[in-house]
């Protein structure tokens, strides 16, 4: 009996020690000094808001299993789990500012709309097809290619990712140059999708849709004053031959100007690092690129991040101290068919279930990394729809960045195409 007791004790002691060690390793996120909500104006963006539905409490305080980067473990240990640009940024806090990867457990997708997305994937399986040009036909909802076999299918999975039907998304834009000068803009980025709708009727397709829209976006600027009341509206069509339509209401001109769709690679006003082509990391026409699926790769990404957007004044990139999880992402390589396009290729890192993008990298004509994007997601409470609480776009070559910190997201509010008409937008966003 004694031998049995001794044996149990011998087994129990190491187990207890190991358990204690594991418990000690999982600890709360350590703060980074200066990280917070530093909005400079006193208005409706002054205080961060979780939005109408908010986020589950479990996302705020996740147990950190390991931390890498600023005042933490050497990022070399996880180099293979990071995209090249993020490794560079973490290695150079003196250039890009403090940034840390806090590794936490992956929290699987859940929520009413995540279930609806899965059900729609099953229900409409096989109904969506690619035509000879590579354009998706017959799509209604869910993931069109649950088991993508090539790059173009993967690209369409991204375009029909698990997402909201519509949204009103408040964002603070922080534009930071290589000397650490910050410039702020605030805007609401609102949109409606016309297919893949899961929450708001009409669904899954928005009907009637006589203009064959696939998506309408508006960006309504609130600050600075010179941009206040400026409304940028972009319409995209479910038609490979039809260019996106851009128009702009300028209060100083008191009228609408049409813009050229050829401005897709122009940086947005105010020196932003974002261009229309890399909205949502990638917003190009699917038939304008050759797509090559490079396979799967385990990476550290922000799948279930920290809900409250933060940034550090005078340093690059929002969300400097977020929670990261290991995800076996899809990697897609897109090369433009137009030889005069100013980029040589685009690398895309996608979630294998929701097909939302974590990272995007644009390479210049000489094959050098030029622009990069990182999206940091948190699922909306109840529905599970991913909210990009932090979006970063950066110019790696000139050390310049634009961080977007989200506040007060409102998803699936029932927007209609009429919402995006100038009279109505001026009602929502007072202008001259």
């Amino acid at each position: 009996m004694k031998k049995v007791r001794r044996g149990i004790a011998l087994l129990a002691i190491p187990l207890i020690v190991m358990g204690m060690a594991l418990t000690a390793a999982a600890e709360p996120r350590q703060p980074i000094e200066g990280a917070g909500w530093h909005y400079p104006w006193k208005d409706s963006y002054a205080t961060w808001s979780a939005g109408d539905k908010g986020y589950d409490e479990k996302f705020y305080n996740q147990d950190v299993k390991a931390a890498y980067g600023y005042k933490a473990k050497d990022v070399e240990e996880v180099k293979d789990l990071l995209p090249p640009f993020l490794y560079e940024i973490l290695k150079k806090p003196d250039v890009w500012g403090p940034r840390r990867v806090n590794v936490t457990d992956f929290i699987p997708n859940d929520g009413t709309l995540w279930k609806a997305y899965q059900e729609a994937t099953e229900k409409y399986k096989g109904t969506a097809k690619l035509d000879k040009d590579g354009w998706l036909r017959g799509y209604q909802a869910g993931c069109p290619f649950p088991d993508p076999k090539n790059g173009i299918e993967l690209l369409w999975n991204f375009k029909k990712k698990f997402k909201e039907d519509d949204r009103i998304l408040g964002t603070v834009t922080i534009i930071t140059d290589r000397r650490g000068q910050d410039r702020y803009q605030t805007s609401d980025g609102n949109l409606i999708f016309f297919d893949g709708r899961l929450a708001v009727s009409p669904k899954p397709l928005y009907t009637p849709n006589p203009n064959n829209y696939s998506r309408i976006d508006v960006y309504a600027n609130a600050h600075p004053y010179e941009m206040q009341g400026t409304l940028s509206v972009i319409m995209q069509y479910d038609d490979p031959t039809k260019e996106d339509k851009f128009w702009l209401y300028l209060p100083a001109m008191r009228r609408v100007r049409h813009l050229s769709a050829a401005q897709r690679t122009d940086r947005l006003p105010g020196g932003q690092d974002l261009m229309w082509e890399n909205f949502d990391t990638f917003n190009g026409n699917a038939v304008a690129y050759n797509a090559k699926m490079l396979g799967r790769k385990e990476m550290l990404v922000v799948h279930n991040g920290y809900p409250k957007s933060e940034w550090i004044e005078h340093t690059h990139l929002a969300g400097p101290n977020d929670y990261y999880q290991k995800v076996n992402v899809y990697v897609n390589e897109l090369t433009p068919k137009n030889p005069n396009f100013p980029f040589s290729k685009f690398m895309h890192y996608l979630d294998p279930d929701s097909f939302n993008a974590y990272y995007g990298e644009w390479y210049d004509k000489k094959g050098r990394l030029y622009l990069a994007s990182q999206f940091q997601w948190v699922p909306e409470k109840g529905t599970g729809v991913p909210v990009p609480v932090v979006m970063n776009h950066m110019d790696i070559q000139t050390v310049h960045s634009t961080g977007y910190a989200v506040t007060n997201p409102r998803y699936n509010v029932g927007l209609t195409p009429d919402y995006f008409r100038i009279d109505n937008l001026k009602k929502e966003y007072p202008s001259r």
Binding site: S44, I175, R183, F246, L259, S260, D266, R267, R421, D423
Partner: protein, 509 residues
């Protein structure tokens, strides 16, 4: 005040504006956390130096009211924009603007009388040196698909830049620079009701708009002898121009509910292009004068004339859309105007062998009304030239205008302001604008050129703006205006002696 002191004043002004920009946080003043009551605006200093002599001094041969090297402008502007969103469907807007033109205080060598004077005509005039007005104040009520605005405001119709064809509702304040200020800065707001109805669920985005304007103002002009007094610039001295302006004022139509001005505009999207059709009846903003020897003129000796501002009906349309194969936005507008008034030029001598009524700008005993047709075709083209600019395309915008006086009788010359001597029947204008951005939008160069081919006049405005942040901007530019020996062309020929370099500093909050 010593002339050299102006540089110190300029430096101090810049220092104050720069200090404001850097002190604390530049912010719009929001009176509540929901942003329903907001005050924004800007403080701006515009300083310009003349590169050529201005108005000839009629009393001192060889002398000028403004000489090369003089200050042409030092206008300090406070612009306030207040918005109150009282309810989701009810808003109030107040826009106020005050200014102090320091030119006369800083440069005693400049002709001083305009300092204490005011703009013309006399109704709703402004002091030349400093003033403040609530330029616009209106309520906007938006029940359902309706938007109804009532109050004092400006309404812009049309697709053209730099020249107006469809933008016919508000007159212009031509008492200060008008070649490069935004139209918003120089439109004269009027009392009006502006109602629009957006047809719900319309596949073609159908929208109807109605404007009713129980108000009237003509264009506004600078006081005699001021930099932009184009009567003075074409050789009409203050003692002669004052009676003209006074008579213009006296003959202005009354404003009131019985003053029928208004129009309707219909907007629709067809084949992804936006089209509008409009009809607008309004009184002419320029006015015409006729010889009046009845003795009823205010100054029958110097300006025996009567001014008329008859109604003109404009019927027209606009279009704008993107042409994908060419990667160009095309836009255009046209207007057929019924009964536009023109002075019949009066070449009769006032006294045998002496000057003619034409020399004094007085028409015959009646004016003529002619239909006119005008159109504009324009393009906006963005071209990315990575070797020159990797992050921003070059925006190239060109416009071509023509206007015809229909059924023009060559035997009866009319003051059309077209042609070499202002009595032609065709008007052809071209414009070209190019701009881009460098260094994250902090450096913004722009060039704009406009040429009135028939009147042989035009202007070039080239400038570079430096925006170190979103609240502060510095602009340095060069403005050249040209014209022919007849000072032909309504807007630019008469003011051709106003070439200048300018500097602007602007702080927004």
């Amino acid at each position: 005040m010593r002339k050299g002191f102006r540089y110190l004043f300029l430096a101090l002004t810049c220092l104050i504006v720069y200090g404001l920009a850097l002190s604390g946080t530049a912010e719009a003043i929001t009176l509540d956390s929901e942003g329903r009551y907001e005050l924004g605006g800007y403080l701006e200093n515009m300083t310009a130096m003349r590169l050529e002599d201005g108005i000839k001094d009629p009393n001192r041969p060889g002398e000028y009211y403004q000489k090369k090297g003089d200050l042409a402008m030092m206008r300090n502007v406070l612009f306030l924009d207040f918005n109150a969103k009282l309810k989701d469907d009810l808003q109030f807007k107040f826009i106020g603007r005050g200014y102090y033109e320091a030119l006369w205080d800083l440069d005693s060598s400049v002709y001083q009388p305009p300092k204490e004077d005011h703009t013309r005509p006399n109704r709703d005039n402004h002091k030349m040196e400093s003033d403040f007005e609530f330029r616009e104040f209106y309520a906007t009520y938006m029940p359902g698909n309706w938007t109804i605005k009532a109050g004092k405001m400006q309404v812009a119709w049309g697709e053209a830049d730099a020249i107006r064809i469809a933008d016919v509702i508000n007159p212009l304040d031509l008492s200060w620079y008008w070649s490069f200020p935004k139209w918003e800065d120089i439109r004269v707001p009027l009392y009006m009701v502006n109602a629009s109805y957006a047809v719900p669920n319309s596949a073609h985005n159908l929208r109807f708009e109605m404007v009713w304007v129980p108000d009237y103002m003509s264009h506004q002009y600078a006081a005699p002898g001021a930099n932009w007094d184009f009567l003075g610039l074409i050789g009409v001295g203050p003692e002669f121009s004052d009676p003209i302006r006074e008579q213009q004022s006296a003959d202005l139509p009354d404003r009131g509910l019985n003053n029928l001005q208004g129009g309707l505009r219909v907007k629709a999207t067809l084949w992804d292009w936006d089209f509008t059709m409009f009809g607008y009846y309004g009184r002419d903003h320029l006015g015409v004068n006729t010889l009046d020897l009845s003795g009823e003129a205010l100054n029958s000796n110097l300006h025996p004339a009567k001014w008329h501002y008859p109604g003109v009906f404009h019927l027209g349309g606009t279009f704008a859309g993107y042409c994908a194969p060419l990667e160009v936005v095309f836009r255009g507008e046209f207007a057929y105007s019924f009964g536009q008034p023109f002075e019949k030029l009066n070449f009769s001598p006032i006294a045998p062998g002496g000057p003619t009524w034409y020399d004094y700008g007085i028409g015959q005993g009646e004016y003529d009304s002619k239909d006119t047709f005008a159109y504009m075709l324009g393009f906006d083209y963005n071209v990315m030239i990575p070797a020159l600019n990797r992050t921003k395309s070059y925006f190239i915008s060109g416009q071509f205008f023509q206007k015809y006086v229909l059924n023009y009788n060559e035997d009866v010359r009319l003051r059309t302001f077209f042609g070499e001597q202002d009595w032609g029947d065709i008007w052809t204008v071209g414009s070209l604008l190019i701009n881009t951005e460098y260094y994250d939008g902090k450096i913004q160069p722009q060039v704009l050129g406009v040429q009135f081919f028939d009147s042989e006049c035009g202007f070039f405005d080239g400038n570079i703006t430096y925006k170190p942040n979103f609240t502060l901007s510095f602009t340095v530019g060069y403005l050249a205006i040209w014209g022919n020996d007849y000072n032909a062309g309504l807007y630019f020929g008469p003011v051709q002696q106003n070439d200048q370099v300018y500097f602007k500093v602007k702080w927004t909050f």
